[in-house]
Symmetry: C2
Subunit: 236 residues, 2 copies
DNA sequence: TATAAGTTTTAGACGGGTCTAAACGCGGAC
DNA sequence: GTCCGCGTTTAGACCCGTCTAAAACTTATA
């Protein structure tokens, strides 16, 4: 059996691996999980013994296939819970993450199955993040890119918003930027700030009608946490 | 903060205190939680330091008011979860306990609040056990007694069934004995076995109709785990 | 009332998860 | 090509929750 802390490490390594493809550095994990580097070293040694990660001293770690499967299992729990809490327990878009972060380690397979069934096997969670399938097959790359990589004039649709920062999420939600929202990139400042026009079609049924189009400036790190796809592709 | 293990100890001490009123013995806790007595000793020492229990060496422990409040909080979580899982996630009467036993330590106060609201502040869980109120006031004694204490000829209504043993629960469920079921005590054997006639009105909407009255013999320990109230009092 | 039987506690060990302090190694700068 | 700095690992400590083995206590009994 794996402790919930071990699951957190695997989830963290998985997330960091998505961002860069290089082996994940000790310090990156330490920062992500808010522990000290020596703590990470000792933990990854244990994970290595269990063959959940491969490690090269002073270089970094990577998940083994088995480690990735565990990470996907936890991620599936997390995202199913986010969807469930939002749809059935009236949690708001932004407050769901913390609850799911704890519960993901403690629900049974039976619970997972029943929630998935009740939600009709959703493919994405409320933030737009893909939910790993029940067979835990690796998630395929999607066609999204960070908003910060887009150029002026492009019309895009919000696909995913990082769920790591509740305040940021609340801010974006208030600004009407949620998965499904259409954006037009108005300006990209040299220091990375992106100004967008917020278009119609916010996803969902909030009272965001009649607000008309608005401009919104987003600091670079916020823009990087928003993943979008080109508006034209939406037809598919 | 309290670990989930500490919460389990407090819950165990609470449950054992209900059964006897005497200070709870180390060995009783050890058996209840399936650990060794030395483990219990070291744990209750820690609980004593935190003023959650009062302890007299070689005698036993009792919950302080604070300890009882914690136990009631955990019990509230447990029983709300049992009710919730049964009503909203289609869990059967007998499989609910294990899931609730884990989740009770990990749901937030917010989750508790929302579940209670959704269920319209239920007073009992699916086993008939009273759910502590949100203010965690001590549970008042109810008017139930173990079926094993009843005499031949008495007509009673099932109020509560212990949720500690899933197989037993399944058995009783199959026999049509659930909270709300009317029973008549037919015979009490010298060795404690109780034979009852299972009457109409099973609680709920299962397909238990048309089965007619049946006789059912219950070993003494099973009969002791079923709490009943006199049928006449039901009018109130 | 002395002793045996049974329960409880003490002593000491271990793995998990974390820390701080100090030693180590890698890669860039000179 | 050597050295310095920063990131990483080693060393050693601590608390939690658990165990086994052995000592201490309580109680029932002879």
């Amino acid at each position: 059996m794996l402790s919930d802390v071990m699951e957190d490490y695997l989830k963290a390594i998985y997330a960091l691996q998505q961002e860069s493809d290089d082996p994940v550095a000790t310090s990156a994990i330490a920062e992500y999980l808010d522990v000290t580097p020596p703590t990470v070293t000792s933990m990854v040694e244990k994970l290595e013994e269990r063959e959940l990660v491969e490690r090269e001293k002073y270089k970094g770690v990577e998940l083994t296939d088995e480690g990735e499967t565990v990470a996907l299992e936890v991620l599936r729990h997390h995202r199913l819970l986010e969807a469930y809490l939002t749809e059935h327990l009236d949690y708001s878009w932004s407050e769901v993450h913390e609850e799911a972060d704890t519960l993901e380690h403690h629900i049974s397979e039976e619970f997972e199955r029943r929630v998935a069934e009740l939600l009709d096997d959703p493919e994405v969670d409320p933030h737009g993040d893909p939910i790993p399938s029940a067979d835990l097959a690796p998630i395929e790359d999607d066609d999204t890119t960070p908003l910060s990589d887009r150029d002026e004039g492009e019309a895009v649709v919000v696909a995913r918003v990082s769920d790591r920062d509740e305040a940021e999420l609340q801010y974006l939600s208030d600004a009407g930027i949620t998965p499904g929202t259409e954006l037009v990139v108005r300006d990209v400042a040299p220091f990375g700030m992106v100004t967008v026009g917020v278009g119609g079609e916010a996803s969902g049924d909030d009272e965001q009608k009649g607000r008309g189009e608005a401009e919104q400036s987003l600091p670079e790190d916020v823009a990087r946490s928003i993943r979008v796809r080109s508006a034209v592709e939406e037809v598919a």
